[in-house]
Each structure stands twice: as structure tokens, then as C-alpha cells.
């Protein structure tokens, strides 16, 4: 008995004391967590990061359409709004420390961070196929471009971060808007080469046409009319993939199908499902907002008999006012949802091309506008419109066609230099010219002393 103990102990003790030199015992095997090497080991694994990137984007995007709607002349805070931040948005009372817009900065950059990680991780992957690499990098570049597009339009000059090397990137100052656009265009052109030209499943991830569709819009911002026209035309030419949706079908009775899942009008949508916290766009919050109804507002902007008026907004008796009606086909909460939030759709491409053609001096510009007017049950515009009349017609058409969609109204007014005048009329007491740009969050300025605040904001 006694010798057994001694044997046991004399065996265990040296083992135990020798432990501290043994690295094996400190090895851990994480579960449900992957290293960079593991996650980019093959196409399927790498695709899960692309899925994550889209999921995160879909989860983050909810408020962008609404807040830019409050900044512009589309929306007012609703009577039942419980969020005082919406009132601050509406009246341009943005405190850089706590503004509601502060989330946009971090959210958009976090997606850019993921796209940078994908581009680097896939680039170094040894196990992925070339097709898999093209797809993943194409998606990452598309997303990076999309998020920089929002950043420059919300904040103006922004740091251009293209790697995950944070020790260096953390001190990057703001880059000029033009430099950011150059990168956006570069990324979208790359994406249009790398991504496939069809939809393997639903229309919830970018492909070549999504990259071109966004490119056509971005070229409007850089005033590269030829390329804008070409990109939009390439998309519009894909008639086997893309067709305009309808407000009412020929057989009657069917509701608008423009935003239904995978409708041919859609170039890119955000996937969602009932009760999911993502991709629900603005419908979850419709009650907190009202549509502007005064003379300068959206409601009177709809022409008589415009089908968009009855489809895109609706009268709500309980609050005695108009509310958003896009992405609301789910009706009762909890029932199956057949609409997805739209990111890019064919309708806009006609408007992009119309503008490009107008600026290029092509007479066909008005034809593109009329395609959408006809769908809305309106009469054609005369082809004899002057250039400035036609320009105004495009702005008006964008306003009613793309209302509540990703700040299109706000960005268009700013792009065309109209915002100051329009907003001065719409909100004479609260409008401030510096409100064209949102403030940078205070914490960002603290963590990167190379950043500067936008003018007008107390910091």
C-alpha cells in the first residue's frame, strides 16, 4: 500500500512540476470561432463572411432612410414618436457627442472593415478557387463602395481606409470627397468584372449589374455623364433579367409588385424574414413618422392621379395624417412577408440615364422620364422641355419615385446644389446651411486627433 502511494506520487510530482515548460497544456481549441486561416480555407467558408457582411449591413441600415428623410423635406417626426432623437434630426439640432447620426459612422466603417478583411483574407487564401476568390472579393468591393458612397454623402471628406492595418489606419485624416469617389469607382469597376452576371438564388447579393447600377449613380456625382449613361444603359439592356414592376396588373386587383421579393424591377434587395431584426427597412417604424404635407412637402409633390401617391404613402386615420407605405405589404405583423427592402432597382436607372443624357445634350433624356411617368399613370412630358426644365423634372421625378429610399432626395438636393434653397423654404426657422453635413462623432475625434469636425458643430 505504502509503496504504491510513493510510486504514484514520485511519478506525478515530476510530471506536475515539469508542466510549466509544456506549451501543449496551454493549447486551446476554440469552438464556434475561426481564425483567419480557417475562415478563408475554402469557398464555402469564405462565403460565410460575405453572408456576415450582408447580414450586418442589413441590420445596420434601418434608420438611414428615415433620418435622411427627416433631414430633407420628406418626413416629420410622428405624433407617436417616442424617440426625441428624431425631433433633433428634423430640426438640425445635432450634438456631436450623442447625435442619432453617430451610429452611421461606426456602422458604415465596420462594414468597410469587414470588406477590407475579406479582400486581404481571400487574397492570401491557399484553399479557395479562383471563382470563389473573384466572387468574395467582388462582393467585398461592392460593399466597400456602397458604404463609402453613404459616408461621403453624409459626412463629406472621410478617411479612406483600405486595409486592416489599424496601427496605421487609426491616424488617417479625412480624404477629399473626390479621392473617395475615385476609390468607389475603382471598387465598383472591379466588382463589375469580378461578379457574375446572373442571380444564383434570390436577388439579395450584388452581381455585375448591381455594381453597374450603383456605378451609374456614382458617375452622376462625379459628373462623368458618358460613363453614367453607359452603365445605366448596360443595366437597362438586360431585359431578360430586369423589367419594370407594376402598380396594378392587367388582370386587376393585384397590388403593386415593385418591391416584392425578386421582382424583375429589383437589382439588389436585402433579404429578411418575419420577425427578423434585419432588412425590414422602414416599415417597422412607420408609425413614428409622418409624411410632410405642407406646401413644400412631399404630399403635394405628387401630381394628380399619380399612382405613386396611393402606393408609396397612405392616410392613417388614427393620426389624421399621411405615413410611409413602402415595404408594408406584410400587413398584419406576424404574417408572411413578401417584400424585401430595395437597395437598387431598375426604375432609378432610367432616371440616372435621363440625367446623364440631358447633360450630354441628348434629346432622349425625356423618354426615360416618361417611361416611369407612364407606369405611374401620368401623361408624358413634352420633349420640348428646356434643359433647366428637364433638370427640374428629373429632380421632381426622383423625389416621388425614390422617396424614403436611402436618402436619395437628400443626396440629390445636395448633389445639385439645391439643398440650401429648398430647405430654407421648407424649414425657414430651423434650417442651417452647415446641416448639409452631419457632425463627426466626438469619440472619433478623441480617438483620432487627425480628424477635424465639420463646420458649425460645437466640439
Amino acid at each position: 500500500m505504502k509503496t504504491n502511494y510513493i510510486k504514484l506520487l514520485s511519478f506525478l510530482l515530476p510530471v506536475a512540476l515539469g508542466m510549466s515548460s509544456c506549451n501543449k497544456l496551454l493549447e486551446v481549441t476554440p469552438k464556434y470561432i475561426y481564425t483567419t486561416d480557417q475562415i478563408y480555407a475554402n469557398d464555402t467558408m469564405a462565403d460565410s463572411v460575405v453572408v456576415g457582411m450582408y447580414g450586418r449591413f442589413a441590420a445596420y441600415q434601418n434608420d438611414l432612410s428615415l433620418n435622411t428623410g427627416l433631414s430633407s423635406d420628406e418626413l416629420i417626426p410622428g405624433i407617436n414618436s417616442f424617440n426625441p432623437g428624431y425631433s433633433f434630426m428634423y430640426s438640425y439640432n445635432l450634438n456631436p457627442f450623442s447625435a442619432q447620426t453617430n451610429d452611421f459612422w461606426g456602422n458604415l466603417y465596420s462594414i468597410i472593415g469587414v470588406s477590407n478583411a475579406i479582400i486581404e483574407g481571400v487574397g492570401q487564401s491557399k484553399g479557395m478557387t479562383q471563382a470563389g476568390k473573384d466572387e468574395a472579393i467582388g462582393q467585398a468591393k461592392f460593399m466597400r463602395a456602397l458604404n463609402y458612397y453613404f459616408l461621403v454623402n453624409l459626412y463629406g471628406d472621410v478617411p479612406l481606409v483600405l486595409t486592416t492595418n489599424y496601427p496605421e489606419e487609426r491616424l488617417k485624416p479625412r480624404a477629399a470627397v473626390a479621392a473617395v469617389y475615385t476609390q468607389i469607382i475603382q471598387d465598383l469597376e472591379d466588382a463589375s468584372q469580378l461578379l457574375g452576371s446572373d442571380y444564383p438564388g434570390e436577388r439579395v447579393k450584388a452581381n455585375k449589374w448591381a455594381a453597374l447600377a450603383l456605378l451609374s449613380r456614382v458617375y452622376l456625382f462625379t459628373k462623368d455623364w458618358t460613363k453614367a449613361e453607359q452603365a445605366a444603359s448596360q443595366v437597362i439592356a438586360q431585359s431578360q433579367l430586369f423589367q419594370l414592376g407594376h402598380f396594378d396588373r392587367a388582370d386587376g386587383g393585384e397590388p403593386m409588385d415593385i418591391f416584392t421579393k425578386n421582382n424583375p424591377e429589383q437589382i439588389l434587395q436585402l433579404w429578411n424574414s418575419v420577425g427578423a431584426s434585419i432588412g425590414i427597412g422602414i416599415k417597422g417604424e412607420f408609425a413614428s413618422f409622418g409624411v410632410t404635407e405642407d406646401a413644400t412637402g412631399l404630399l403635394p409633390a405628387f401630381e394628380e392621379n399619380d399612382k405613386r401617391k396611393e402606393n408609396f404613402v397612405r392616410f392613417e386615420e388614427t393620426v389624421n395624417g399621411y405615413q410611409i407605405n413602402k415595404y408594408r405589404s406584410d400587413g398584419e405583423a406576424g404574417s408572411a412577408n413578401n417584400e424585401y427592402t430595395s437597395v437598387l432597382r431598375l426604375g432609378e436607372q432610367y432616371l440616372n440615364r435621363a440625367e446623364a443624357r440631358l447633360e450630354l445634350g441628348l434629346s432622349t433624356a425625356v423618354d426615360d422620364i416618361n417611361i416611369l411617368r407612364r407606369r405611374a399613370g401620368l401623361t408624358d412630358l413634352s420633349s420640348g422641355l428646356s434643359k433647366s426644365q428637364a433638370r427640374a423634372a428629373i429632380v421632381q421625378e426622383r423625389r416621388v419615385e425614390l422617396c424614403f429610399e436611402w436618402g436619395d432626395r437628400w443626396f440629390t438636393l445636395k448633389r445639385l446644389g439645391l439643398a440650401d434653397n429648398v430647405m430654407k423654404k421648407a424649414k425657414p426657422t430651423t434650417w442651417k446651411t452647415f446641416a448639409l453635413l452631419y457632425p463627426l462623432p466626438t469619440v472619433e475625434l478623441q480617438n483620432n486627433r487627425e480628424l477635424t469636425q465639420n463646420p458649425g458643430y460645437n466640439n
Binding site: 475562415i39 460565410s48 450586418r56 478617411p159 424574414s273 431584426s277 405583423a333 466626438t442 483620432n448
Partner: protein, 1069 residues
Amino acid sequence: MNRLKNLLLVTSLLAGSTVVGQQLNYQGKPTLKELFSTIRQQTGYNIIASGNQINLNTVVKVQAKDKALRDVLEEAFKDLPFTFKIVGKEITILPREKSGQQHQKQQQPAKQLFVDGTVRDKSGPVELVTVYNKSNDKVTFTNDKGAFKIERTSHTDTLVFSSVGYEERQLAVSTSQNTVAMQLLQTQNLLDEVSVLSYGQEVSKRLNTGSTSSVTAATIEKTPTADPLIALQNRVPGMMINTLNGLPGIQTQVQIRGINTVNQDGEARQPLYIVDGIPFNSNSLAYIGANGLTSSYLGESPFKSIDPSTIAGIEVLKDADATAIYGARGANGVILITTKRGKAGRSTISADYYHSFGSIANYVKMLNTAQYLEMRREAAKNDGIELTPNDYPDLLKWSQTEDHDWQKEYFGNIAHTSNAELSLTGGSSGFNYLLGGGFRRENTVYQKKNGLTVGNFRSNLDYHSNDGKFKASLSASYATDKNEVIPLSFTNFQTLPPNFSLYDADGELNWTIDNPIAALERTVENRTKNLISNIALSYELLPNLVAKINTGYTRMKMDQLAINPRRSFRPSENILGNNTFTKASAATFNFEPQLNYDLIVGRSSFRALLGGTYIHRGNSAITTSGNGYTDDSQIRDIHAAPIINIEPKDTQYRFLSGFARVGWTFDQKYVINATVRRDGSSRFGPGKKYGNFWSVGTAWILSEENWLKDNQFGLSFAKLRGSYGLTGNDNIGDYSYFVNYERIFDNYQGQGYLPKNPFNANYQWEVNKKLDLAAEMGFLKDRIIFEANYYRNRSGNQLVGYGLPTQVGFSSVNQNLDANVQNSGWEFSLQTTPINTLAFTWKTNFTMSINRNKLLSYPNLASSSNSLTYQIGKPLNLIWGYEYLGINAADGQPQFRDVNGDGFISFPDDYVPLANNIPTFFGGLGNSFNYKNFDLDVFFSFKKNKHIYNYPFTSAGSVINAPAIVLDRWQHPGEEAKFPAYTTNSSTMSDYNSSSANFVDGSYIRLSNITLSYSVPGKMLEKLKLKNLRAYATGANLLTITSYKGTDPETGVDMPMLRTFTLGIRTSF
């Protein structure tokens, strides 16, 4: 008195860390006095000899090298007329002749006379008391029932009773007396109380080189709470325990000697807990706020699985010397909890039951309906706002006469707690056992049915072989609890307008404003199971060389179901029901081999410990959440959820280290201990896993020096000690040294993965340098014991989540930050025994702690994300805000200092550090009185904290009630007032609330605890056939003297700690 000298106590018991062997090393011809002194030093044995019989100057010859004590004595006394007897740790020297006579007399029994007797103290019979008959020099000892029988003369005899830990007493026995009963009085010599140190080492307070504080079972028993840590509140110098909320089972915040890290994560600031030698998972698996009702996520206290009455003692290790052996894990201090174990002797059943009644002691005075409506009206008038039914339903739609005091209506009930414990202990010489179990049920002041129920079962077994060489002990405890407390927000009820109706005319919930009653529909059910098991084996390989293995396994499992039904949300928001099922578990395996060696050379004794630790901890959790329930009746059925999301998590932590500790004690006067340690942690990347730590501790017992021994100023004990060392910290979370691709919650037609952190594999151990200096003194035979302790801890190379601009894709990165934090402070304790007689004793215990916390350096603080959190030279707990300049008498607006002088008050340029939210000092004063069978304990605690956050009042623009302090507001130009003019402007009020105006003095003196108990006297116990019977009544949190206007200066605006009255009974038989 002079006769007392007859019984010469050559030495007093010194149970020191060096005292283990019975081996002796001595060569030469010492006098008996020298020999006894050597024996005492080398073995720690007491030697009792009657001086009138023994000439201590007798020279004997001793040749001992690693010789057994018994052999040495036999050899030394060979030619002397003495013999000896070893009982326990006492050696009694007896004259040989007399024992020879005794022997002869035994042959003539007729002539022998005896006296019988029993010796007891307050609690019962006392074993091994030396009974000495002065008249005939006979000596005997009491047996385990306290009985003795001693030979007497035919005249009046004088018996002397002595035993370690008791005051010596004499008794004259007349010739007619055949039996005597003696009661002895305990002398509580605190210096000789044994402290349990790291890895089961024991040391008396006298020889301890480290800074430790202990709290005994007797103290812990007096605080009838679910969490034993609350019993330590304000009783341990240097240890601050904050209770965050008065709900049952809420986790406490524990800080030993201040905050050492700029890391905001609570886990990184926690001490290490060891229960019976096994690390205890002190991190909550369950969060009370899982249903989103409380603003902060309050953890459940894992300690509720340990019934305080099962604890034998708690030891708090503070300095480098005491904690270095725990290396990395001991950076924030170590708390050792030892549970009660079986005792040899006949089987004993102990039972304890108590019932507590708790209520909220203090409410915040709020406005009544008339005052409230006046405020709303006045604010609107001040700001020129038109009253509309939409914004002012309280003025225009609701009853103008209803007047509710919501705090009392909903939180005015009595919370009940019942607690029962039963245990069985016993054992023979080689085998001791304990079996026990308990049950506890606790509810809240606002709800009877949903409460906390805890059941626990524990057992332990100790075995040692006949030769004492092999020892084994086994413990296992299992606790299960169910917590269904719905954490209603106290402040939501406080601020509810007094004329609001919770229900509308149809009896449905009134949703005009957020209805706090709806929260009762959002239930949380937690079920936690906690297993702690431990096997310790030791074997004496060679004389003085002992090998030990300590193995432990603990596992905590938690099942939680949080339900948010559709009806608990405002109907117009159309939020669907959702639920979350969480299954989480944390398991730790712990393996600690060690080797102990003791060596005694002359007056030196050495002790060496060599050991290793291996810890493997696994945490896993699966969260299944169901979303989109349209029908509340299905909400417990996960399969009925339209959307189900499953999120698994699993992390592993491994820790490995080797350590050595060497101690040297010379002549019981000089002690030095040194520890070295090498730790490895899986939390660090390749090449950074290991860190080296060390400490040195030393003590000098001045009172053992001859020049101080017989001093005139009553100094009975004096010690100086000091320690210095490095400990580490690896609290940075698992795996973050590589980029973690983790599953995200947001599905997108499949499971997505995203990088969670930026890449940094370079961070490594955080290092804490600890300095500790102390003086300990005893006066008047240690009836006054005073200790003053200074410490200075500096922690550098801080492990933090360093703020990044989010342009890099992440908001922080884990890294070492070259910031230095210093905690320095003083701790004082004073224990006195002003009166100690048989009938009445009075003891006091005073502690006070002063901690100063300072950020010494922080590279580029101004440009870091913490530029508005910390300031160099200031404590980490800085409060920032506007500096309040009073009210503008012209318009009633609050005024703040415009620091940058730009004409605006704005964040952050006008923000200044206002104050330190750390107490200036805190402590406690305990008084215990004993009169015959009654014990009375009165404990006061105090804290000086000049700046705590006052009740924040949003603004009179919202439908929210205000505290009555707003009544003293500005109304007319030129008026002096304390509170600004009523306003609907919430940003004015938010500036006011975040200014110095809203930080008030939270100092207090609190009557924390009064316990009165009665122990049934021994004679009656014998009749009842009981060993012990005690009834007690405790009042906790009875009275607080403070100028703070909120409910409780401890919990601030949250639900206060309850005032409780407890009645209990404790017995054993």
C-alpha cells in the same frame, strides 16, 4: 499570586508556520531551561513543569540529530528524578519519585483520597485542561467530557486549572468536598489564531509576514443573507464591498485595496475566490436584467450556493507576500473561504433555522398630486408652452384628485426569508465526516410568489492513517437554486405621476405613458446548479517531506428562460412576443501537486514548498431565442416561434504554473519568506504566454527581543513586517490574440461570420507591484491589539481594450497600455477586551480603511478615448461634468462655468473633473457583550464619501414625477432658490444633472447589525440531552444617519438594501 509561580509555564504555545515536526536537533550539555527553550523553538511544544520540584539549572547531556522528541527527553531525564507526559502539544514534566510513590499508593488503595470534578467553559466541557494539585504536586488532565480525577491530601487542597486559551484559575477544596465544578474563562488571544494561507499553509498571526484579515464563522453567522460576502462588509480593512441593489441574490462588487486597472471590465477588477482550495467561479452565468428591465445588467451572485452558516472562516489575502503564490490570479487580492468540516467525537446533529422580515427602510419623498400638477403647469408657463391633451394628459385628461404614493403601494410590503440548515458530523480517530443540507427561500417586497429558492447539500470526509503519514480528504457540495425574481425598476415607480391610473376604465393596462406594471409580465426564470468537489491527498514520503495532490472539479450550470410577451409592450408599437432560452455552464478542473519540506537546524527552521498548478476552465452557452410570437399563449413553446435563432458559445481557458516558496524563521523572532512563480496562460499569443512573478515578505517580532520582553509600558507583543513583490493579471478575455471570426446573430439566408477584433498578438501579462508595511502591537497581555498597515500597489503594463477610431473597423483593440495606476492607503484595526470576567465580557473591534487611487501615467491620454474618463494624478473613479455656479437670480436658470470661454456651455470642452467617487475612508465598529448566557453584538459601519450621484430628475416637460427637493425652486426674479425654475427643457435639466449640482454628500453612519442571542445553560442542556441550544434575534440595516436624500447612500437611486429583522434558533445534539 506567588503560588502561581509554582506552576511554571516555561513557554507559551507558539503555533507557527515552522512548527510541524517532532524532530529535534541538538548537541551539547544544556541546562534544562536551555533545553526546554530549544524544544519550544524547534517543535512549538508547550512545556509545563512545576518549578518548586525542578531545578531548571540542572545540566543534561543531549545528543540529538533528527531525533524524535520523546527519545531526546527520555535520554535527557535518564539520570534525573523526572519523567514526562506528552498530551496534545503539551509536555508536562513530572517528578519521577512522586510518580513512584503514586505507584506505591496505588498498591494501597485504601489510603488514597481523590477528588472528582468537571471543567467547562461557556459552551461546554473542556478537554485537556491541566489540573494541578499544589498541595501534593499531582497533575492530571481532563478527558473529552471535561472530567478529571486527582489524588488529594487529607487537608484543604488547592487545585490550579490551566489550559492554553484560558485564564488560569485556582480553587480551594475543603476536606469535605469530593466533587468540584470549575468554569474557565477564555482568553481570546487573537495573535495565536491560526490563519489559513495559500495552499493550505497555516500560520499564526504572530509569525505571519503577509497582510491578511480573517473573519470567523461567529461573525458570518450574524448576517443572515444569501451572500456570505455581505457579512464581510466594513469588517475587513482594505476591502470594499458594494451592494448594488436590494433584490435577492444580486451580485456584490468587491474591491480589495482599490481598483488596479484602467480596464472597465468588472471581471478584470475582481479578486480571486478560493473555496476549500479550489478556485470558485465568481462570475455570474445569469444576468438578472435578461428581460431588459433594469438599466444595468446585474449579475446573480454565484455565492448564494454557499450557505453562510456552513462557512468556518473567510481569509482575505491582500499583499504580495500573501498573494504572490497565486501569481497571476491574485493581482486583485485573494479571498479564501473554508467550509466547516467534520470533527472527531461522537456524532452531532446541528440544526439552524431563521426567518427574516425585510422591508424598505427609506423612501424618497416625491411630489404629491397637487405639487406635481403645479410643477407641470408652472414649467409650461415658464417656457410659454401651450397645454395640449397630447403632451399634458396628466393635466387635461387624468384625475386631478387621485394621489398615489407608488413607492409605498408597490414596494411597501414585507419580504420574507426562511433559511434552514441541518448537519451531521462525527468521526473516530482516523475518520471524520460531515453531512449537511440546507434550504432557503426569499421573496421580494413587491411580489410574494416570485422569489429565490436555494437548496444545498454538502459532505466531506477526512481520513488519516494510523501512523499519520497518509491523509485524504474529500469534499463535495451541490447547490441548486431557482430565481424567479422579476427585477421591477424601483425608479420607474418613484417617478410615476401620482395621479396616473395603472389601469383604464375597462381594467386594461393604461398605456398613456409607459406602464411599469407591464414589466411583471416579463418574467425571468433562472435555475442554477453548482457542484464543487475536491480530493486532497497527502503522504509523508520521508520524515518532514510531504507530498500532496489537490484535485478539484467545479461545475455551474444555468438554465434561463426570459419571456417578453406581446401584452407587455405598448400595443401601438405592435411588438411581437419573444423569448430567450439560455443554457450556460462553467466547469473548472484544477490540479495542484506539491511537495513540502521542513528542516530545523539549531534555532532556525526552514520550510520549503514546491508546487504546480494546472487549471482548465470551459465556459459554454447556447442561447435559443424565439421571435415573432403573435399569440402569447404559445410563448413558452420554442417550436411555435416563427423565427428561431440559436447561438452557441464555447470558450476554453488554460492556466499552468510552477512555484516555489521558501521560509526561514530564526529564533521565533525573525521571519523571511520568498516566493517565485512562473505562470502560463492560454489568453496570450505565442511567445507571450509566460510571466515570472515573485515576492519577499519579512517580519521581526520585537517583543521576543530581551530588551523589550519585560517592558514597563504594558507592551506584550510587537511586530514589524513588510513585503514587496510582483503579481500579474491576465484578465483580457479568451482568444483575442488572433482575429476571431465569430457567428453573428443576424442571419442572411445562412449563418454569417464576422471578424470580432483586430489583430494584436503582442499583448502580455499586466504587472502589479505591491508594497506592504505594517506594525502590529499587543498591550496588556494582548487585551489591546493594534495594527496599522500601509500599502502601495502600482500596476503597469495595463491590459485594456484600447479605444480605436471606428474608421479602422473596430472600436477597440486589446493591448498593453503603459499606464500606471497607484493605490496606496492605510488600514487600521484595533481589537480590545475591556472587560473579561466570567459573568461579563466586552470586546470591541474597530477597523478603518483609507484608500487613495491615482493614475500615475497614461501615454497620450489627451488623445485617447479615455481623455474624458481619466486624468493624470487623479483617481480612476473621476466624475466629470459641468461646474455648477448656482442659479441666475434673474431668470432662474442654472449656470455653469464656461471653461473654454466661447460663450457656450458645451460638451466636452466645458466638462471638468468634478470629484472622486471613492470614499475618503470607511470602516466599522463592533461591540460584543456577553452577560452570563446572553450575547449582544452591535455593529456600526461608516463611510465618508462626499460625492455620490443624486436622484436625476429628467424635466417637468415629461410626464414624470419629481422628488420633493424641487419644491425649493426659483419662481420670481431676484429670488434665491436651491433648485432652478421649473422647465420643460430636458437639455437644461440634463446639463444640471451632469453638473456638480447633482453630486451630494453620501457619507453615512449605519447601525448595520444588532444581534441578541441566548444560549441555554449547560445544566438545562444536559436535561434536554442537547449539546447546544441558542436562540437569536438580529436586526440588520436598522438605522442610517446620512444627509443623503435618496433611499440609500449605498445603492444610490436603485432599490435599497432591505431593513431586516431575523429570528432564529440553533441547536446541536
